[in-house]
Symmetry: C2
Subunit: 213 residues, 2 copies
């Protein structure tokens, strides 16, 4: 089991440490709410920060890409940092410097490993199930050529830290008398009505009908 | 002027290069739509990917933090990569491997510079105006102690690349006969009703009333 039970030197949160958490359930929830993560790695040209689709199976975060991807090659040679951030709202305080944001973020450190051919298929099917549950059986599955051109990698959710902020603003006592509206302006990722491809006359399946509440 | 007019070796998009753009207006729009960016940098412990609030003034992207922030110290010593990603939808194709996402992303390479005291105040007020236009005059402005404890940094939007995908799925000709619903499931960041702080009995100002359409 890869449990982020205790901080390591890399995952010890120092800034606003009271927002830190090393709880596995929270980490999984933050990963599962994400369609993409950002990955930091380095090469001869310096540091790079690349967004890529991600999904979770058990205690691992998965990504995929072309065999030729620079990032996937470099990630097999070095440790990296994977970060997911959800912005949940703007926090309006009485003092300019006490304004903040509510958010949920996770940082994962470690090294990716490429998975073998058999697990690659299991992982890609889990990816589809994560993105659009129920669609797997309706589409043309990947063929050998497509799988052979694709690398699937995973990183253990073992060395990880979450940082979250929720709730109202926090002002200093001496500012509490300032007469200004205080509270939170919430932000949320929402679904909009499906856009059928031009020329597609098929009825929408249940998972498309259910996309918008 | 810092114009991302032509790709450099670091910003030359190689994967799905037809999605790349070096257009300044697009770059500005992607930055202006963001509340946070992710920054990749390195130190003795390896690569780090840190989310932080960002805003734009002219041809620069700004961030801020405590003087003691590890990231802000390291960013003054090295080049880094700043990335912003907006996920706009899930793209459902006929073949599993042709599924995709619609998105707008921007990557900026370069070195941050700390701004001087006078510009720090201008920049922080622009930040407030970006987050909640109109609120600046109602709150207690930052005092000398707060400003002295805060570092504001900016990076030129000069060496940058955008990558975007829009529109319907793209299937191979041989898959067009597969009878499955195709289209896009849109995702959008939306605003929810303001949550007033417990005990705040003041009327909401116009910019709070206008938060939700």
């Amino acid at each position: 089991m890869n449990k982020p039970s205790a901080p390591t030197p890399r995952t010890q949160v120092k800034r606003v440490a009271e927002y830190a958490s090393y709880d596995t359930a929270l980490l999984h929830a933050i990963v599962d709410s994400a369609y993409v993560c950002h990955i930091a790695f380095g090469d001869a040209n310096g540091s790079h920060c690349i967004p890529t689709a991600c999904w979770r199976i058990g205690d691992y975060l998965y990504i995929h890409g072309s065999n030729g991807s620079r990032m996937l090659k470099r990630l097999q040679e070095q440790e990296c940092c994977v970060t997911i951030t959800h912005v949940d709202g703007l926090v309006l305080a009485r003092a300019a410097f006490n304004h903040s944001m509510n958010y949920r973020s996770a940082m994962i450190y470690g090294r990716f490993e490429a998975v073998d051919d058999a697990h690659k298929r299991v992982a890609m099917e889990a990816f589809m199930e994560h993105i659009v549950p129920g669609r797997q059986v309706e589409v043309r599955a990947g063929n050998d050529k497509e799988y052979n051109a694709t690398t699937v990698m995973r990183i253990a959710l073992a060395e990880a830290a979450c940082k979250t902020r929720t709730g109202p603003p926090k002002d200093e006592d001496e500012d509490l008398g300032i007469a200004v509206w205080t509270g939170v302006l919430p932000l949320v990722t929402t679904r909009r009505a499906p856009v059928v491809e031009e020329g597609c006359t098929l009825a929408a399946p249940d998972y498309v009908k259910a996309w918008v509440g």
